[in-house]
């Protein structure tokens, strides 16, 4: 299925969950937050939240800032 992750198109397997996506994309960060179609996906539900075609997902990590 095709979804958008951080503004770019991504092709994922049909049964992919948010946890699968985070495992692919977290880049060594342990404090990661995920938004799906504008809403927060709590960490506790990542493993049971299946993605749907056309989803827009944001995967965010800590950075410096004032």
């Amino acid at each position: 299925m095709n979804i958008t992750v951080n503004g770019s198109p991504v092709d994922l397997t049909e049964d992919a969950t948010v946890a699968d996506l985070v495992a692919q994309r977290s880049g060594g960060h342990d404090r990661v937050a995920v938004a799906r179609n504008g809403d927060v996906v709590p960490r506790s539900t990542w493993a049971v939240t299946r993605l749907s075609p056309g989803d827009a997902v944001e995967v965010l990590a800590p950075t410096a800032g004032g």
Partner: protein, 310 residues
């Protein structure tokens, strides 16, 4: 750094007296005196005494007690090594952080440094333009960092990065209802400050001048009025350029100072962190000591009585 010039041709602000004799170098990143001696010994020498002084005068925000009255923003540092040195030199116990797309963040080293320093994290909503966006960002930060503390920033203008008062108050009300501990970055308007405090914000954080401008506290009168208008802690946030600005904030009655660029973009960030730490303490002491009233004319400090006739 270039001196600030209004795009409409306004006057340049005057140079501080100590900078007058320095060669003008428009291309340098920051101006300052010559570097002398090793820096690490300076921090090692000064930090323990400063920490003892700070410990005698703690303050509380949202039930958490801090001895350091310097809140540090992390943006603008050239390396993670310098982040650690700056955090330790500043003595800060509360540090702001942000969230961005993972691809835009190189590695996890910042969090490792901050964890090692043992500071508390204050996630921000930097870059948000609407209440909706800021609330979503705060919710994401709560997930990522495991804290309901948030520095609420809702920007209403690209050039000045000034807060959007309407969106800010809307976002503050929503976040308080959701159980967040809100640190509201706001203008220096005492009425808006009171409205934010009334909405349940844990701290009100008025700007001295625009973010990163280094223009200091443009309206000290408003900051003092805002301080009188609320009972929650007031943290001067944004615009600090050098140590005297931080001292002034404390003299005006602020409980703490939040700064980033003034330290992180200084030519010598660690030394500037030490300077800010001492300035905050100096301003705090002066506030408690009670300054003399301002007079139009002189008042002699040597008795006229007993003066010889010569």
């Amino acid at each position: 750094m270039k001196d600030p010039v209004s795009p409409h041709g306004g006057p340049r602000p005057p140079h501080p007296p100590h900078a007058r004799d320095e060669p003008r170098d428009e291309t340098s990143r920051a101006r300052g005196g010559p570097l002398e001696g090793g820096l690490a010994p300076l921090t090692d020498e000064l930090a323990p005494a400063l920490a003892r002084e700070e410990a005698g005068d703690p303050f509380t925000i949202a039930g958490e007690t801090f001895t350091s009255r310097l809140v540090l923003g992390t943006g603008g540092l050239p390396s993670m090594d310098s982040l650690e040195r700056v955090v330790r030199a500043s003595g800060t116990q509360l540090v702001t952080v942000a969230l961005r797309r993972v691809e835009a963040v190189a590695g996890n080293s910042m969090m490792q440094v901050l964890d090692r320093c043992g500071v508390r994290l204050l996630p921000n909503t930097a870059g948000c333009r609407t209440a909706r966006e800021a609330v979503r960002t705060a919710e994401l930060a709560r997930e990522a960092f495991g804290t309901d503390w948030v520095k609420l920033e809702v920007i209403g203008d690209e050039q000045t990065l000034l807060p959007d008062a309407v969106e800010l108050l809307d976002a503050a009300e929503q976040l308080v209802l959701e159980g967040f501990t809100v640190f509201a970055y706001t203008t220096d308007d005492p009425v808006l400050g009171r409205r934010l405090a009334d909405a349940g914000c844990a701290a009100v954080m008025p700007l001295g001048s625009p973010i990163g401008s280094g223009l200091g506290i443009r309206n000290p009168h408003s900051i003092a009025l805002l301080r009188e208008a609320v009972t929650v802690p007031v943290v001067l946030d944004a615009g600090i350029g050098t140590a005297s600005d931080a001292a002034l904030a404390m003299e005006l009655g602020c409980d703490a100072v939040l700064l980033a660029s003034a330290v992180t973009r200084a030519r010598d960030p660690e030394r500037m962190a030490l300077a800010m730490r001492q300035a905050v303490e100096g301003g705090r002491l002066a506030r408690g000591a009670g300054r003399i009233p301002r007079r139009w004319h002189a008042q002699e400090s040597t008795a006229m009585q007993g003066r010889p006739e010569l």
